[in-house]
């Protein structure tokens, strides 16, 4: 087991603040504290070589978890083990095993040429000359660092900087790679390159990757498994396919027809003997198309299409699977509703 997280919680305590100048004076004399649970009782484990997407809305506790796994923060309760090492107890030993990229903040030396940053990192991570040469060759292949290797970091474009940061995190060939929003603000081509690089590194060294992102495509292209957290709690842990199976039950078929009125007369409920609530039809007069959204457990896609083909002339068919982003939205909403219910329950 490469990463083990056992019942980890992180609580931040800060002095209570009151609004306004009066409040500021009041705050000076009060001893009240505000406690915020950033992460609450989270457990999971990750095998070597897995690429795991760690997702959640802003402030859900993603970065806090990553910071506990990297040794920056000490858990208030519970324990993490990364490659058998407790990161907050043996920070230095853990640091040798991990690579970290924070998408919004560079780890490189702003004023130095990139080449110097790598020289420094070579010393910091105690990389031998031979290892350095070999690893640089590989990193140049996948990240193409050569084209801007001698430029100061502050002069790099965002895409170049991200490639540089990823390279810097990988120089010592870490066992675990943490990526906190690695594709934020990048254009499509660069995003694609970064993803490709992550995949190649994972395949070549069996590097374990933990990735937080808001970009659903990152997840779809890279992760076989995802963990979703909301408001500090884990609300889903499993494969992407399973998630789609469980929450992505709505299918959509859009058909362009010759005669829209004729198409609208097709009555699926009586033809297929299903309740009317099982599907929803919206028509668009301008493009002569009807969109049928239905629960895939009640209706088969072929049945629906077959009925329309029989009763009207269909020119074009489009089938859409629910996108992950929509599933995530559903889950968030679900989580929030549950919480609201709990709160209401407490009030009454």
């Amino acid at each position: 087991m490469e990463i083990e997280v056992r019942n980890v919680s992180k609580e931040f305590v800060s002095p209570k603040k009151y609004p306004g100048l009066k409040g500021a004076v009041k705050g000076l004399f009060s001893n009240e504290k505000v406690r915020k649970m950033a992460v609450e009782d989270i457990s999971f484990s990750i095998e070597q070589g897995e690429i795991v997407g760690y997702i959640g809305s802003n402030g859900a506790g993603k970065s806090t978890t990553i910071k506990m796994l990297t040794g920056i923060l000490e858990p208030t309760r519970g324990e993490c083990l990364v490659h058998g090492i407790n990161p907050s107890k043996e920070r230095k030993k853990n640091a040798q095993n991990i690579g970290v990229v924070f998408g919004q903040r560079t780890q490189l030396w702003w004023d130095l040429p990139l080449s110097e940053s790598f020289t420094i990192l070579k010393e910091i991570y105690n990389v031998s000359d031979d290892e350095y040469k070999a690893q640089m060759k590989f990193l140049n292949q996948v990240l193409e660092l050569e084209e801007f290797f001698t430029r100061p970091v502050r002069n790099l474009s965002l895409g170049q900087r991200m490639r540089a940061d990823l390279g810097a995190a990988l120089l010592h060939n870490p066992k675990v790679l943490y990526l906190d929003e690695p594709t934020i603000g990048l254009d499509l081509v660069v995003k694609d390159n970064i993803r490709k690089a992550i995949r190649e590194i994972n395949e070549k060294y069996r590097t374990t990757v933990v990735l937080t992102t808001h970009d659903i495509e990152d997840i779809e292209e890279l992760c076989s498994r995802i963990i979703i957290i909301d408001d500090g709690r884990k609300i889903y842990d499993g494969s992407l396919a399973e998630l789609k199976e469980k929450y992505g039950v709505t299918r959509k078929v859009t058909m362009e027809v010759k005669n829209i009125k004729e198409a609208l007369q097709v009555d699926l409920s009586s033809l297929l003997k299903v309740p009317k609530e099982a599907y929803q039809i919206t028509a668009e007069m301008g493009t002569n198309s009807v969109e049928i959204a239905f629960d895939k457990h009640c209706l088969g896609i072929s049945e629906v299409i077959a009925q329309y083909m029989q009763h009207t002339e269909v020119r074009d068919i489009q089938i859409q699977e629910t996108e992950l982003s929509e599933i995530v939205k559903v889950i968030y909403r679900h989580g929030m509703e549950q919480e609201n219910k709990q709160e209401e329950g407490m009030v009454s």
């Binding site: 910071k67 920056i72 000490e74 640091a95 010393e123 105690n126 929003e181």
Partner: protein, 267 residues
Amino acid sequence: MKEIKRYARLYKVFVAQFFKYIVQSKVDFLLGLMGFFLTQAAGIAFLYLVFEQIPALADWTLPQLIFIYGFAQIPRGIDHLFTDNIWLVAWNYIVNGQFDRYMLRPMNLFFQVICEKLQPDALGELLVGTILLIVSLSNGVVTIGGTKVLLLVVSMIAGAVIYTSVKLLFASFAFWMKISGPVLYTAYQLADFAKYPTEIYAKGIRFIITWVIPFAFVAYLPASYFLKPQVSPWSTIGVECILAVVGFGIAYGVFYFGTKAYESAGN
């Protein structure tokens, strides 16, 4: 041993960067140096002006005060040259979460903080200090030789460590306060009192700069050992060394516990 070599190799990389910077940005470097040089010159001019009005200050003559003044510059300069980055811990690194990157690397945190920057401006202080010491020696205000040379070097190093300890201690408060720059600045300013004999100050100030934030032991007290034969080296340079060791121990301890309490910053 292998560890030490590794740290030394890393430090060499940053020293090389420092020289590169000096060679590449001559104008910046010279302007910074000039600025500090002028500040020092103003300080000495002030001494001359004071002595135009009064012949002696608490039994000290002008050449002796110039020696003390010069003596004070060197430990300050050494500390300024090597550990200037501590200021950024107090002002920026904690509050905006930049301290994260140190936590992510397999090296000592204090070493990482100080190795990143050598401050060229400090050369102005070192230069003025050295010139004033040479002037004092050639004037015959002080005579040193043999063990006194050794004690001079020891005192300068211990003095620099006291400076570093004060900076590190107050900067470490940032781990709890988020920004401790103003507190650090106030503490650091007290060092200005130590450029002159502490006898000229009120009791309260004298107590603070001798025993609370011991800047008196950085300059005036050890310098008086070289100026007055009746002063014992143990009660001056000896105590200075003890304060340096104890002070650094305390400051490093607070820094260490600070890193455990570090809360980073949200994105």
